[in-house]
Amino acid sequence: MTELLRIEGARISYRQPGRGRIEAVRGVDLTLEGGAVLGLVGESGCGKSTIARAVCGLVPLDDGRVLHNGRPVRPLGLRRRDAEDLRIQMVFQNPYASLNPRRTVGSQITDGLRINPDRSAWTVAGLLGEVELERSAATRYPHEFSGGQRQRIAIARAIASGPDLLIGDEPIASLDASLQARVAELMRDLAVRTGAGLLFISHDLSIVRVIADDVAVMRAGEIVETGSAAGVWDAPQHPYTQRLLAAVPKVDGLGTLPG
């Protein structure tokens, strides 16, 4: 059977002015099925966002393949995207930058609806309801909303197009701690309920533990450990994963210093 997403031996490098090429992703294999959630965790610079961008075709691969429903994702160029590739949607870290400030929320969600193969799947009002926003939000502009609300709008817009693969690249990192779990759960529920697979990228293991089925831990361009989210959280095998988990501050009120 063909997986929803299959990454095989991906290698990606960037050219840095004056410093040659740096290899951001060094031979990564990952798979994701429809209706499942894969958490990809790691620290700054480990290459996790580069993988997200490669899955959307935003960066070319040096080697290896990214297969979406068994078909290679075509790198984004000047030509129109293939209909198949439009079924991959991404929610970015910064909702202040990813929404168009000069267009109403409703019209931006309508953009998504327009490319949904199932024209009757959603309405703007229905989607706003799903992300717990007022129906009246449709006629307002992004600046009228808080960061958490904007990220809900970005999620609604991504879901509007009927994706079968949803990618969240640190979608909750710029939100208040008290909102993070809520927005992550909302994203997970919407993806799973519509049968889409979710690749959720985060540096926050405690959130990934709640919403992901499986987790892959990445370090310096390589995956060092994969397993079920609960398994990795409870019994990390790789020393790096153990260090990462030990560094998460515990909310125990005891003044326990992490690490």
Binding site: S44, S146, K250, V251, G253
Partner: protein
């Protein structure tokens, strides 16, 4: 402020005394144009004592950063301020700009969330550490350099002598935050305002900076006002926690009280919003 619980810890009585302490009483701040004046701080009482970390928790817009800014005398233009912020025997709100400059950066220092924007990109680390030190103390260039080396060593930046010649872009975020802390400590302040000091850092790097801050409190007797929305960081570092919402402190108490047995509904909702396996085991379930 009838909704503030456990006032006894800092809300009334004499509070800390002595040179090293900051004592905020009934601080009120209003901002914005006359037509749309907003009260951003509505009667804040808070103490920062030597050797202690006072945590100020709350969500965006609750006023926690504004409280730190008020202590630094860095409120936006047009802000009106009432109440009292005493530093030792000095009333900070009554100081002339010149006298305030002698306190700010010298006796009370600040570090912010993003060290890449708080350090000047075009100045060497040596200048970032020594310019304000020499201005405040009149120290010679050589003495200032010695002090800078001592502090880079204290905050565990590897190879301090080489580091002094480098520029901010040559360091990682965690190293930069250590350098920002070193810069803040140059003039031997007794109070450090740390506004989301680890929010921009990776967890493993954050762990190191938290240990460093704890050590500075314990070893140097530094008083820290820790502003963060991250309850994990709060639980690790703060001795006492005040929870802010809408410009008021709604709950305060010891770290253990506030996190494991929150009394105010809002504090409970913050703790309930944590991922399930991440909540304190003996915390009350708000539902």
């Amino acid at each position: 402020m009838s909704d503030s619980t456990r006032r006894g810890l800092a809300g009334s009585g004499s509070g800390p005394t002595g040179d090293g302490a900051v004592r905020i009483r009934d601080l009120r701040v209003e901002l914005g144009p006359r037509s749309a004046r907003r009260t951003v701080l509505n009667g804040i009482d808070l103490d920062v004592s030597p050797g202690q970390v006072t945590g100020l928790a709350g969500e965006s817009g609750s006023g926690k950063t504004m409280t730190g800014m008020a202590v630094m005398g860095l409120l936006p233009a047009g802000a009106s301020v009432a109440g009292s912020i005493r530093f030792g025997e000095t009333e900070l709100l009554e100081l002339s700009p010149r006298r305030l400059n002698a306190v700010r950066g010298n006796r009370i220092a600040m570090i912010s969330q993003d060290p890449t924007s708080s350090l000047h990109p075009m100045l060497s680390i040596q200048r970032q550490l020594t310019d304000h030190y020499r201005a405040h103390t009149g120290a010679s260039k050589a003495d200032a350099r010695d002090r800078a080396l001592e502090l880079l060593d204290l905050v565990q930046v590897p190879d301090p002598a080489t580091a002094l010649r480098k520029y901010p872009h040559q360091f990682s975020g965690g190293q930069l935050q250590r350098i920002a802390i070193a810069s803040a400590l140059m003039c031997r302040p007794t109070v450090l305002i740390a506004d989301e000091p680890t929010t921009a850092l990776d967890v493993t790097v954050q762990a190191g900076v938290l240990r460093l801050l704890r050590g500075l409190c314990d070893d140097l007797g530094l008083g820290v006002l820790l502003v963060t929305h991250d309850l994990g960081v709060m639980s690790a570092l703060a001795d006492t926690i005040a929870v802010m919402r809408g410009g008021r402190i709604v709950e305060r108490g010891t770290r253990h009280q506030v996190i494991t047995a929150p009394e105010h509904e809002y504090t409970r909702s913050l703790i309930a919003a944590l991922p399930e396996h991440h909540r304190p085991a003996d915390g009350k379930d708000p539902s």
